[in-house]
Symmetry: C2
Subunit: 371 residues, 2 copies
C-alpha cells in the first residue's frame, strides 16, 4: 500500500528517520558513558522500545503503571516509572509488576514512602525507589537539601524499600531560553544540581548508584556533566515542531507526520484540513529561539509558507498568504505536530513507511494508558 492510500487522518513514520534518531541519541549517550533509558511515552509501542533496546538502551522509562504493564507484556524487562505511585490500588499493581521485571518508582514525600513501605512489607518484597529532585521545573520533586536528606533517611529506615538513586526531569531547561548557549548553560546547571544532591546523600552514607536526568532538548548537554549515570529523553525518537523551534531538528529529522486531506477551500486565503485537535493535539508551539516560521498548530511539509492558524476538534484552518501554492480539495498533506507525544496518544496505529510505501503497521499499544 502506498502511504497516500491511507485514509485520513493517519500517523505515518518514516522508517529511515526513525532509525537515524534512535542511533543518534544512543551515540550521544555512548560518547559520554551514560546509560540511555528512553521514555517510551513518545511512541507508546513495544516494537519501537525493542528497537531502542537493540540499539543499546539499558531499559525504558514510562510515566504510568498502565504503560509499564503494556511494555512488560511487550517483552521489556527493565522499567522505571518516572512518577509517584500513590494509593493502594496502584501500589498493589506496582508490586505485582516488580515480580515480573526490574522496576523502580519515584518518591518525593514521606506520605508516599510510607504507603510503599507498608504495602511492600505485606508482600515481603523490596522495591527500588529514586528520590525525585526539582531542579527548576516546579512540578513534583523536592528542592531543599534538608528535605531530600530527611526523605533519604526515611527510605533507609524502610526495610522494604531500596534507594537506587536520585532523579530529575529538567523539562524547564528550554522554557524562555534565548539561544542554544543559554539552553546549554541551564541544562548543565540542572545536571550539576542533581549530581550535587547525589554527593550530599553519599556524604550522609546513602548509596546512590543512579543519577538520572531526562528531557530531549537538554539531553546532549546534561549527559556531559560528570556524575550523571542515566538519561531518559523521549521525544528524540520522532522529533516535532517544538524541537524544530529550538533549532534541534530539521523537518527531515522529524520521523512522524499526520497525513490529512484538504476538505475545503472556502476563501482564497483559506484551506481546511480534516485533522484537528483530536488528531494533532491542541498545544501551540512552545516558545523557542528558532521559532520563526514554526508558529501555528503544526508544520505542513508540502507548504511551509502556509500556517495552521486554528484547530477545532476535527478541522485545521490553514491561512494561505498571497501567492502560496497549496494543494486542492481531495489532495493529501503531511503535518508535523507541535508536540508529538500527546498527538500519538490520539491514534490507534503507526504506519511505518519507506519512501512512498507502507511497510508495516504497528498498534499504539499504550494509547490511553493513563493510570
Amino acid at each position: 500500500m502506498r502511504k497516500t492510500d491511507l485514509d485520513t487522518p493517519s500517523l505515518i513514520i518514516d522508517s529511515g528517520t526513525l532509525r537515524h534518531n534512535i542511533e543518534w541519541m544512543q551515540k550521544v549517550a555512548d560518547r559520554f558513558g551514560v546509560r540511555l533509558r528512553p521514555h517510551v511515552k513518545t511512541h507508546k509501542s513495544p516494537h519501537i522500545a525493542r528497537r531502542q533496546m537493540e540499539a543499546g538502551a539499558c531499559g525504558i522509562t514510562v510515566a504510568k503503571l498502565d504503560e509499564a504493564e503494556v511494555m512488560t507484556d511487550g517483552g521489556l524487562e527493565d522499567i522505571l516509572i518516572a512518577n509517584q505511585i500513590i494509593g493502594s490500588a496502584k501500589i498493589a499493581r506496582a508490586l505485582e509488576l516488580a515480580r515480573r521485571v526490574r522496576l523502580a518508582v519515584l518518591v518525593d514525600s514521606q506520605a508516599g514512602v510510607e504507603m510503599l513501605e507498608r504495602a511492600a512489607s505485606v508482600t515481603g518484597q523490596i522495591l527500588d525507589v529514586l528520590i525525585e529532585v526539582d531542579t527548576g521545573k516546579g512540578r513534583c520533586g523536592l528542592v531543599n537539601d534538608e528535605e531530600i536528606v530527611a526523605l533519604a533517611g526515611r527510605v533507609a529506615d524502610a526495610s522494604h524499600l531500596r534507594l537506587r538513586g536520585v532523579e530529575t526531569h529538567e523539562g524547564h531547561v528550554p522554557r524562555g531560553a534565548g539561544g542554544p548557549g543559554e539552553l546549554q548553560e541551564r541544562a548543565v546547571a540542572a545536571g550539576a544540581r542533581i549530581v550535587e544532591v547525589a554527593e550530599i546523600l553519599r556524604g550522609q552514607g546513602h548509596p546512590v548508584e543512579e543519577v538520572s536526568v531526562g528531557s530531549t532538548p537538554a539531553a546532549p548537554y546534561t549527559a556531559s556533566v560528570e556524575g550523571i549515570t542515566e538519561m531518559r529523553p523521549g521525544t528524540y525518537v520522532f522529533n516535532d515542531v517544538n524541537q524544530m523551534a529550538l533549532g534541534q531538528a530539521h523537518p527531515e529529522e522529524c520521523a512522524l507526520s499526520v497525513l490529512a486531506t484538504v476538505i475545503s477551500r472556502p476563501a482564497p486565503d483559506r484551506a481546511v484540513l480534516d485533522a484537528g485537535s483530536k488528531s494533532l493535539f491542541a498545544e501551540a508551539a512552545r516558545s523557542g529561539f528558532a521559532l520563526e516560521g514554526y508558529g501555528g498548530f503544526g508544520y505542513i511539509r508540502e507548504a511551509s509558507g502556509a500556517r495552521i492558524v486554528s484547530l477545532s476538534e476535527e478541522h485545521a484552518v490553514v491561512n494561505l498568504a498571497a501567492g502560496v501554492d497549496f494543494p486542492d480539495i481531495g489532495d493529501k498533506v503531511t503535518i508535523i505536530p507541535n508536540h508529538v507525544c500527546p498527538a500519538v496518544n490520539l491514534h490507534d496505529e503507526l504506519h511505518i513507511v519507506d519512501g512512498e510505501d507502507v511497510i508495516e503497521t504497528w498498534p499504539i499499544a499504550a494509547r490511553g494508558a493513563i493510570r
Copy 2:
C-alpha cells in the same frame, strides 16, 4: 462500588445532572418548535444518544464517518454528518451507511459536490446534502450569496444528490462577547443570516426543508429565530468550564468530572494531581465574560480557590493560595474540564454515578473515531 474506589484518572458522570441537561435542552427546542439533533461528539456514547432520542431528539449529529458508523451500530437511525465528505474511500463509506440509516452530509465546494455525485451515480443512490454557510466562524462554509446560489444550482443539476437544506455552525458567537446581551445579539444575527440564505435559495426555486444551526452557547437564542428548523448543540449534555465562563452553567450543572488523585505536595503553595493533558486535554479556558475564577486548566470542585496553573501529559500542577485548604497526598478530587468534548475522547469509559455510588459503566464507543 463507590466512586472514590475508582482508580484515577477516570471519568464520572452524575446521573441526575445528565438527565436534567438532556431535558433542559429538549425543552428549549420544544418551546420554539425547533427539532433538536444533538451533536454526539460530546459524549461519544450510543447509550446517551438513545437517551437524547427518548427525550425527544429528531436524530443525531456527528463530525466524522467513524462516529456515524459507531452510532449506527448502536441503533441510531437518523444521522447528519456535519462535515464535508471528501475522497473516494470516505464517500464509499457514506454511501454504504446511507443504505442503513437516514443520512445527510455537508457540501461547500463544487469539487465536493462532483465527487459525491460521481460516486452516488455509480451506486445508483440519492444522497441528501446540506450546503454549509459560514455565518462568521471562518472555518468551512460559503459566505457569498452568489457562491451559495451557484452551489445549490450544481446540487440541483446532480441527479444523485438531493438538497435537504442549509447549515451553519455558529461557533464564533461567544468569541470575545462582552456579556450575555452581546452573545444573544450575535446568535440571533447568525440565525437570521442562515434563514436569509434559505429564503434566497427558495427564491431561486430550490426546496429548502432544513435550516440548521448548532452550538450550545448560542442555542437558546438561535432557536428563537423564526425560520430555524433544527438545532445541533452538543456540549450541553455535560457542560464544562467554557460554559461556566459564559455564565451559562454552574458547577452543579456540569455532569462530568475527571476523578484524580493528589500525588505530591512538594511545596506549601503547590499540589500535583495524577491527571494531565492526556486526561483533561490542554485547552486553556476560552475567554468568557464570566471567566473570573475559572482561569487555569480545569475547575477543582473540592477547592474552588485552588488553580490548575499548568498541565503536563500526566500531571496537573495546582497553585494553592495562602490559606486554601487542599486535600492530602492520596486523597481524590473531581475536576470539571475546560472543554469537555476532547477530554472525553481521551478515555475509554464513562462511569455513571448516583450520589457516591457507581451505578453503570458505559464504553466511550466513539473514542478516537476521527476518520
